[in-house]
């Protein structure tokens, strides 16, 4: 009844002339702009004898991409070039987020350290990295640090595991057979963890018993994949990069090659973003009221219990939303790849493919929509999370 009357009044309000006119004007204006642009685009295309549409995605691209997670060469289609770019963007974002999180948490905790020198150094770190333009940091890593590495013959070799030279970083490649069994193991352990978590919650709320879910989960997520791979007969072959001389030029072949463009991007993105995450972590820890710790103590919680059950859950509530935003920023910032020629979505697709086909409208539309989809997905997850953890006040 209440809802109904509210709906009626809002409907009435909207039908008032003074409210109707601006809305109609906005709609008209919006469609006029769309029509204006579309009409001009069509005329311009006709004048230049260009076709429009997305057919070009199926045609041969004719250009090569030097860094790709999937098979790709000049005879592949533009659609596949898009896929290569998207995967490269996600790859950089994944590693950037991984390192930024670790660094950010370490620096954020160090900001609150009682050790004066650690405290000051982490402050300098934060102020340095977040006040410098990201593109400058990328250029710095790419054009100065990575360019001053030794040549192939004089490579730095660290424990035969990491080979560093001007061409990039080389690490051994692990080749699995029957690798799907590992995947089954992970799925199985996740299911078990889910059940244990459910059981632990029940025990906690009904019998006030604490089950160390985290420790059990960490144990299971290692053990089950191992058992499954033993059953399935998974074998691991390690392929080490080897120094080969071809036509008088030394080169490393085999293994996994991480190109300098990729490294510069990951370094710069993770250092830049970690400075922002560190501030979030610091704010989160500071936000937990001192009384909370004291209350935990007076209830007889020991140090790790009070940290695990009282402080960290409350700090994470403050830390996670802005940190997710930083992940989103990192993903969008990875588009700066285009500045140093890393073939990501922007570099390979909006750069090379665009200049080859001249399909500016279509390609920029696709790239924008891709980033928009990623952003909206992450903010949907964030909203869902925020609702879930929002304090229920009585």
């Amino acid at each position: 009844m209440f809802l109904n009357s509210e709906f009626k009044t809002s409907l009435k309000k909207n039908l008032q002339l003074s409210n109707l006119i601006p809305q109609l004007l906005l709609i008209l204006f919006f469609f006029f702009i769309i029509y204006f642009f579309a009409n001009n685009a069509q005329l311009n295309m006709k004048a230049r004898n260009m076709s429009s549409g997305f057919d070009f995605l199926g045609t041969n691209s004719g250009f090569d991409i030097q860094f790709s997670l999937i098979d790709y060469d000049g005879s592949s289609s533009y659609g596949r070039a898009y896929l290569v770019g998207l995967l490269n963007t996600l790859l950089v974002a994944f590693f950037g987020i991984f390192f930024a999180t670790i660094l950010g948490f370490i620096i954020g905790v160090s900001r609150l350290s009682s050790n004066w020198i650690i405290n000051r150094l982490s402050l300098i770190y934060v102020e340095l990295f977040r006040n410098l333009p990201l593109i400058l940091q990328i250029f710095f890593w790419y054009f100065t640090v990575l360019r001053s590495l030794p040549s192939t013959e004089k490579s730095l070799i660290i424990f035969n595991f990491l080979i560093i030279n001007l061409q990039g970083f080389y690490i051994p490649k692990f080749i699995f057979t029957n690798s799907h069994y590992i995947f089954y193991g992970i799925v199985f352990s996740l299911l078990t963890i889910f059940l244990i978590k459910y059981y632990a919650n029940k025990m906690f709320y009904e019998h006030a018993k604490v089950i160390p879910v985290l420790k059990i989960s960490l144990f299971l997520i290692v053990v089950f994949p191992v058992i499954f791979s033993l059953i399935g007969g998974v074998t691991i072959n390690v392929e080490y990069p080897k120094l080969v001389k071809n036509f008088g030029i030394f080169n490393y072949l085999g293994g996994v090659k991480l190109i300098p463009e990729f490294l510069a991007l990951v370094f710069a993105l993770s250092l830049y973003t970690s400075a922002f995450i560190a501030e979030n972590v610091r704010a989160g820890i500071l936000a937990v009221n001192k009384g909370q710790k004291e209350a935990a103590k007076s209830l007889g919680f020991n140090n790790s219990q009070s940290l695990n059950l009282i402080v960290i859950p409350q700090a994470l509530r403050v830390i996670i939303p802005p940190t997710t935003n930083q992940y989103l920023n990192l993903t969008k910032n990875s588009s700066l790849a285009a500045a140093i020629g890393y073939p990501d979505l922007t570099g390979a697709f909006a750069g090379t493919a665009l200049s080859q086909t001249g399909k500016a409208i279509e390609i920029i539309f696709i790239v924008m929509m891709t980033y928009l989809t990623i952003s909206l997905l992450i903010s949907l997850i964030l909203n869902w999370y925020n609702k879930k953890i929002a304090l229920v006040e009585r």
């Binding site: 906005l26 642009f37 020198i117 340095l128 006040n131 333009p133 710095f140 909006a350 952003s375």
Partner: protein, 350 residues
Amino acid sequence: MNKENIKSWLKVNLFSNWYNSIISLFVLFVILSIIPSFIDWAIIKATFIGKTKADCKSGGACWVFIGVWFEKFIYGFYPDKELWRVNLAFIILILTVISAFFVKPKIKPYILFFLIFIFPLIGFILIHGGFGLENVETRVWGGLSLTFMLTFFGIIFAFPLGVLLALGKRSELPVIKYFCIAFVEFWRGIPLITVLFAAAIMFPLLLPANTNVDKLLRVAIGMGIFESAYVAEVIRGGLQSLPKGQYEAAKSLGMSYWKMNFLIILPQAIKTVLPGLTNTFIALFKDTPLIILVGLLELLGMVNLAKSNSYWLGMAVEGYIFVGIIFWFFSYLLSRYTQSLEKKFSTERH
């Protein structure tokens, strides 16, 4: 500080227990091994005076590079004999901003009006030409002055648009509300680079064939719209923080929608989110070098160009340190200013 004090300070702050002591000593060791060699390179062994790369023989930093290219780094390819026009525009800007700190609060709105509506015109005529001044095409603009121009333009473009979008997002009229929400979410969801590409490459295709909008203007407007979405989000935060009573009080005085917002709501909302706004503008300032991707050369772009000059190869480190110091200085200054504002406007008791 006497000896006892120093001792107790060291004990509390560096050597409170065994692992803190180990960490402190290790970090001190690392610092002491890096900093002297850096100072040696950057100052002691460095060359400051000279005309060519050959003057740098000492093995340290070659600051000659910065000295020789300094004018290009600041003004781009702006013609030498017209440089006074750029200088004059910036002097007017700086004097206006400084005077804002010293005049009575009553006059401040006029200064703001001047900065937003009159100064851009004066600046544009001075730098671009007209009224008897020789025309200087935008493609020779560049360097640090272009960085500042873009930042300034971005701010005065994004701010009013952001305010309107923020109001629109809270509008009772569904079409306006959802249009503003979609608009803001769209611009916040895409990276700035795609906006720059769109402005530089795609936008001309959407205009009638014979029109020719300057590339720099297209890029600047693109950046302005992009930034306005972020401004809108910040101001929306301020609007949300205002108690309902403010709206009700304004309405009960018979104020219209616009009067209520511009006289009662926005002044309070903007005051509370001033720190967030400056942060947005710092981000805009740090984002300006991205225009290098569409072939416009502000400070970082000019340095990149200079370091690939065949007479000056191998000067990348010096160049980037120079750019870094300038960007860092202005960003840090603004963020400190923001923090002081935060303290000034904070109503919490400490």
